[in-house]
Amino acid sequence: MTQYIKLAWRNLWRNKRRTLITSASVFFGVVLSSFMRSMQEGSYDQYIRSIVNSYTSYIQIHKKGYWDDKVINNTFKRNQSIESELKRNKNITLYSPRFETFCLASSEDYTKGVMVLGIDPQREDKIINISGKLKQGHYLKNDEDGILLCSVLAEFLKMNVNDTLVLIGQGYHGASAAGKFPVRGIIKHPSPEVDRTLVIMEIKKCQELFSAVGMLTSMAIMVHDANEVADTKQTLVRSLPADLEVMDWKEMNELLMKQIESDRASDMIIIGILYMIIAFGIFGTIVMMMAERKKEFGVILAVGMQKHKLMFVVLLETVLVSMVGAITGIFASIPVLGYYYYHPIPFTGKAAEMMIEMGFDPVLSFSLDPLILLIQALTIFTFTLIIGIYPVLNIWKLDITNALHN
């Protein structure tokens, strides 16, 4: 066996240029397809991250039926048993209670319907990073009375930091809710939709305002990464009381998931075309190689080499040459993808505006998932092996006299 490998290896380096060209086409195949996949997956990751981090988090717990009917009476009581369940789960990095509802916000002369989000300032900041979006004023401290206004809303209401905003609405069980709150800070939320409607306040003050002390509309939960979501959700569904619903970010963002899904399908077509171009490139070099070496094979067979052994050696050559290409391809891709992972390509002009409007960073992100590299290397390697059947078949059908006369 080692003898065959040695033979194949030597054969390869007898014609360095030919070998380099073949392995270079494998190499570029791996690099290009990895680059493309990394870009695609990177932008999905970016979508997911931004929706998870802008609002939904990975998993949420609600009272059963809340998601379909988001009214203030569809809330659940915050209690120790739920929290100890969350604390016990090793996947969960963070959980944050929320109380959200709609009401009217009124300044001196203007009134507008707003969404009020009551949060635990410290915990929530680690999920949706509100303090990072702060434009003016300061972020809420725990138990602090006061609100944060989104910038477009603040402009509409003609409000600045330290002005007083009036909130009027209906509270829990039909109680009336009305209160005055000083504006502590103004934030710029990337999503224009949210930026027009969101008012953030400390959760206890919010629950008090709406006469719902101790009640939550949702518990936002973060896990280490998206891969742990399914498992964690399963565990929670099993261990939490049946009158609560557990939803993951996919269920909470159905529309966006459908968009990503259809996007993925069109990406598969593009990557398929790329694979075909690469495969034909490799096929071309191998056809050339066969043509060049026809006489050589004829001579070897004429001096007594068995056909099946020769076939095996040639197959080994293909395997080796594509392995060289695949492995160097992987190693060459890492720094390239690494660079773009940390320096995403910025969008400009209309495309950038569109992305900002949709609430995303206007950059083309890359993924550093090692699986992408591995799968691309394996795919290209498999293509090469399939192409490798061509020289094997050729030798099998080789007519020695004809080959010698060539």
Partner: protein, 239 residues
């Protein structure tokens, strides 16, 4: 008794009943209990009423809503919210919305429309409802009246002319609300039902109960009592 009923028209019965229920003025205390499938809550209030066009209600409990005042002058309605020190005018578009989360609408509270003047009346029959012999009268709103109902069927007790039961139908003549009065007690100079229960037909296990704790009729109240200034001072006194 029989002789009298023969001479009474449907309109006479309604007029007698309306005069009794309203008086010239009335003032009193009541408790409203909102019942929902999973919870219920009570609100107590004091109210003053003068004729058809003036009324004022101040909430005395629960603590959170204590001091809220509602004022009605003719068709207009204001709400004073002490927690934000603001007077809110309730716009016509909100008239059909729930009052304080109950099954009563803001419009029910205003009761600008008159069951005497704004309807045509027809005596349908006599029926006994919960042991009380009643006149069953169909009331169809006049075309020019600002009334949202398609028709109202009302049962008025033969003895005492109390509004004992009512069914409210919408424009498509499907039943929306049922009102049941009960618990007749002497309040001031007259005997009236002190418990009113309103049940929305399409919402299961929902109802609102209004219990009158006390009420005095025909005490003089000045018109100036029903003013925005007075809303604020009453609110402060209650707090």
């Amino acid at each position: 008794m029989i002789a009298r009923s023969q001479t009474l028209t449907a309109k006479d019965i309604i007029t007698k009943s309306d005069d009794k229920a309203r008086g010239k003025t009335s003032q009193g205390e009541s408790t409203m209990t909102i019942v929902r499938p999973t919870w219920s809550r009570s609100i107590t209030m004091k109210s003053w009423e003068k004729g058809r066009s003036l009324s004022l209600i101040v909430i005395t409990a629960p603590a959170k809503e204590k001091g809220q005042v509602f004022l009605k002058i003719k068709t207009e309605m204001w709400n004073w919210l002490p927690s934000i020190e603001r007077m809110i005018k309730i716009p016509p578009s909100m008239m059909l919305q729930s009052w304080m989360g109950s099954d009563f609408t803001n419009d029910d509270l205003i009761k600008e429309s008159s069951i005497v003047k704004d309807y045509t009346h027809k005596l349908l029959s006599k029926e006994t409802v919960r042991d009380m012999p009643c006149y069953k009268i169909e009331m169809i709103p006049l075309p020019e009246a600002a009334i949202t109902w398609g028709k109202v069927i009302i049962w008025i007790t033969e003895d005492g002319f109390n509004q004992w039961k009512a069914e409210y139908y919408d424009e498509d003549m499907s039943l929306i609300n049922i009102l049941n009065a009960s618990n007749i007690k002497k309040m001031g100079d007259r005997e009236i039902p002190t418990r009113l229960e309103i049940v929305p037909v399409d919402k299961k296990n929902n109802k609102t109960i209004l219990e009158i704790k006390n009420v005095i009729y025909d005490q003089p109240i000045k018109d100036s009592f029903f003013s925005q200034q007075n809303m604020r001072s009453i609110s402060q006194r209650i707090k």
